[in-house]
């Protein structure tokens, strides 16, 4: 363990503290990165990682302590000044400008100019194409408007923007949260290449596997304080999780109990929707967690949305043996299907922030607690009470505003809503995106309990490790079809699933629709 700041660090934080309204977000944190080093910053949500990044970026100034950049005290007045000094940052909330093109974003405020000081559009385009080639990124049109890109593509553009500025320090704050496996591979390659060229990298991610893969050192933050810094491999993963949480976590993944029963709860035949979902046959059994894997945009979202009636679909959907026409979320709820969706921009989680926990939970089933349109608060309380208790939501106060809850608790509200609605089939779309390990572990336990009670789940996650550790069976989707149906009997691992995802792409010759 090497706690003292290294003199030769390209960036050193010394005793940095920052409070918001009396709450310490960072307390006496010291930390340093060497040239050519990839240094991971890990911790739960709210541990202070993003605050530290914002201080480095000049978006916040520390209350105490100082930051040294290349040996000199560094106080950028704003993110523009930090960028000029050679710090490239990929923020968690993608700060691209949606109405500008990709090229204009990548070279924002350093566009090539003509003689009369207007933006030289042709040179801008050429330079952007050059940047794409240099960092081997394909599949995105430099002239496309950022508004029209998928979240993953936007993330890639933000990363490219940071790389293209040739920074001497690169900061990646949850840069992989929105990326699929092949894009993550691309990012890790670029980060390694940059580090080999002498760039110092601060790498923030909830995905511990990535960190083990790429970093030389890691620093753990907890409740705004630095727990310590270690070399990669110095800690067992269990010790690392304990350092992050400050307590023993039984296990991140609770195992996969055999809860699958023979009865088919959800079946689709020839399901088609939009251009991406072409002809899908799928069966989910009672008590089964079915994992959905695939490269980005292979119809996974369309599948979930059409099962929930948010997208017009053709083909047949059977719930518990009965065929249902599902044209709206109301139809889906009536058929016993619930959806916990984390939309791509993660602004909401199907959660109504200005309503209380009680109001959120009761919303889909107001008809059960009301008479002639008038709601009985007593019945409402009786209905939601057990669920709040059972899922252990927040302080278990039904009148708390949902918007004031932590991310993990908000997701519990979303799941709880559909348990109350009587849904027997839960559609879980990227439920764990950006959720810290503590909350994740709790959520997986809940999923296991639900499976044991006979709930069926469609579990989509962009994190393959999670699929392997949570799902009873995994289907890999490609081009709107199921291209592999794999029983997770202990013989599966991440690489095999990724191989299936890429193989399908190889076979059809559309490799690297996004990334080579």
């Amino acid at each position: 363990m090497s706690r003292q700041a290294n003199e030769s660090g390209i960036l050193s934080a010394r005793g940095v503290s920052k409070s918001f309204g009396g709450v310490a977000a960072l307390h006496d944190v010291s930390f340093d990165v060497l040239p050519g080093e990839i240094h991971a910053l890990v911790g739960e949500n709210g541990a202070g990682k993003s605050t530290l990044v914002k201080i480095i970026a000049g978006a916040l100034s520390p209350d105490a302590g100082e930051v040294l950049f290349k040996g000199d005290p560094f106080k950028p007045s704003d993110p523009g000044a930090a960028a000029e000094a050679g710090i490239g940052i990929v923020f968690q909330e993608l700060p691209l400008i949606p109405d500008l093109t990709v090229a204009e974003n990548v070279f924002f405020d350093r566009q090539p100019l003509t003689r009369v000081r207007t933006v030289a559009r042709r040179r801008l385009r050429a330079e952007c194409v050059e940047a794409f080639e240099r960092f081997s990124l394909t599949g995105i049109d430099p002239e496309a408007q950022v508004r029209d890109l998928s979240v993953a593509s936007r993330q890639l553009v933000a990363i490219l923007k940071a790389l293209a500025a040739d920074p001497s320090l690169l900061v990646l704050d949850e840069a992989t949260a929105a990326l699929g496996p092949s894009e993550v591979t691309w990012l890790l390659e670029q980060v390694r290449a940059a580090a080999e060229a002498g760039v110092a990298v601060i790498y923030i991610s909830h995905r511990l596997a990535e960190i083990a893969d790429i970093c030389q050192r890691l620093t753990v933050l907890r409740n705004g304080e630095s727990v310590g810094s270690w070399r990669n491999g110095e800690l067992e993963s269990e010790e690392l999780v304990r350092a992050i949480l400050g307590r023993r976590l039984g296990q991140l993944y609770p195992g996969i109990p055999p809860t699958v029963k023979p009865k088919v709860m959800l079946e689709t035949k020839g399901l088609r929707a939009g251009r991406r979902l072409r002809n899908l046959d799928l069966q989910v059994k009672e008590g089964e967690i079915l994992g959905i894997a695939g490269l980005e945009g292979q119809g996974q979202l369309e599948l979930i949305l059409s099962l929930y009636g948010m997208l017009t679909s053709h083909g047949s959907i059977f719930v518990d043996g009965v065929e249902h026409r599902i044209n709206s979320p109301r139809d889906a709820l009536r058929a016993g299907i619930g959806l916990a969706l984390v939309p791509e921009d993660r602004k909401t989680e199907g959660l109504l922030p200005t309503l209380t926990i009680r109001e959120n939970l009761a919303l889909p089933v107001l008809h059960r607690v009301s008479h002639l349109g008038y709601i009985s608060s007593q019945k409402e309380a009786e209905l939601v009470g057990p669920t709040i208790h059972r899922l252990n939501i927040g302080r278990q106060d039904p009148s708390q505003l949902a918007g004031d809850l932590s991310g993990g608790n908000q997701q519990k509200v979303v799941v709880g809503k559909f348990l109350i609605s009587g849904a027997r089939v839960l559609l879980l779309y990227d439920l764990t995106r950006g959720v810290d390990v503590g909350a994740k572990a709790e959520m997986f336990l809940t999923l296991n309990e639900l499976a044991a009670e006979g709930y069926s789940m469609l579990f989509y996650s962009s994190d393959v490790t999670e699929l392997v550790n949570v799902a009873h069976r995994i289907v890999v989707m490609f081009d709107g079809l199921v291209c592999a149906d794999l029983l997770n009997d202990g013989s599966l691992d991440e690489e095999m699933i990724v191989a299936h995802m890429l193989n399908a792409a190889d076979r059809t010759g559309v490799v690297g629709s996004l990334v080579r």
Binding site: P329, P343, E349, L351, L355, L363, L366
Partner: protein, 313 residues
């Protein structure tokens, strides 16, 4: 507990005290009746506009409905008995305009501002066709009711109380819950099974009805019709709602604050009058009070969040 309605009421009470210090007869029955009858139509408009703001929308057409309503009243309230008939016509017309707004916004997904800007213009045109210039008359026996009292309270105050009672009932209905859900997050509400189309149609329909009721009250107050009166009342209605703590971002607020906001606005005019200032001061003061109300609401909220954060483990 939301404190923002309290701020609106606190402002109204402060203004009332200032007014009372300057104008000593303010507590007389006549003055209180004037205050209530000058406020009641704004309260009615605010009730509807508040519902619309809760869904993240805006309704400009209430101005047109107000003008049209007074125009119909001034030309068709001719003999006893016709008032009730034509009052129902005004209300049905208001509901029709609102449902049209709601259908264009909810089903065709057009922007509320544009849709209601258009229907405001259309309905204002209809008002001018019915009554080209200010005039007409309301039978005195009907008009004077608004300035009379029953059971010791001005009739206008009874109407406001009735609206508050109606609101406290409505607040507990499924429809109201859907309205808050929709404004809080349209996508999230749809996921929870809320029919956003029918909810929006209901909301704009109710706003139209409220504006129509407001127009009848306004016609009673002035005992005549004015085919352009509504144009000047749209923004005061929005102002009353916002002073009352309803968020333009939707999903939070309520009618109790709106009533306080409406009284605050009327009292500003009264205070300006009591100090013998020109009415230009009224507009200036309206703006200042609006900013104070919004700032105070924000300050109280962030103070509470900070305290909650300190309490959290």
């Amino acid at each position: 507990m939301d404190v923002r309605p309290g701020i609106a009421w606190a402002l109204a009470i402060v203004l009332f005290v200032v007014y009372a210090l300057q104008q000593h007869d303010v507590l007389s029955r006549l003055q209180l009746t004037d205050l209530c009858s000058a406020t009641v139509f704004l309260v009615a408009l605010g009730l509807g506009e508040g519902l619309v703001l809760l869904t993240r929308g805006i309704d400009l057409s209430i101005g047109g409905v107000l003008s049209m309503g007074t125009a119909i009243a001034a030309t068709h309230f001719v003999s006893p008995g016709t008032e009730l008939l034509w009052s129902s016509v005004i209300i049905v017309a208001g509901a029709g305009v609102g449902v049209l707004n709601g259908a264009l916004i909810g089903i065709l997904k057009l922007q509320p501002f544009i849709v209601t800007l258009a229907t405001w213009s259309i309905v204002s045109g209809v008002a001018l066709l019915i009554l080209p210039i200010q005039g007409g008359s309301i039978p005195p026996h009907f008009a004077s009711w608004i300035n009379q009292s029953s059971l010791g309270l001005p009739n206008a105050a009874w109407i406001i109380l009735a609206m508050v009672a109606g609101w406290s009932w409505f607040k507990r209905t499924r429809l109201c819950r859907r309205i808050y859900a929709l404004g809080s997050d349209p996508e999230g509400a749809a996921i929870a099974g809320v029919n956003t189309r029918s909810t929006l149609i209901a909301v704009y329909g109710m706003a139209g009805v409220c504006a129509a009721v407001g127009s009848i009250l306004y016609a009673m107050l002035t005992a005549s019709g004015d085919p352009t009166v509504g144009n000047g009342e749209i923004l005061p209605a929005v102002t009353a709602v916002v002073i009352g703590g309803t968020s333009l971002y939707g999903g939070s607020g309520g009618f109790v604050g709106t009533v306080g906001g409406a009284f605050a606005l009327t009292l500003i005019a009264d205070v300006v009058f009591a100090f013998n200032l020109t009415s230009y001061w009224q507009q200036l003061a309206d703006g200042v009070v609006l900013i104070i109300a919004v700032l105070a609401g924000g300050a109280v909220r962030s103070m509470r969040l900070r305290r909650a954060a300190l309490r959290a483990p």
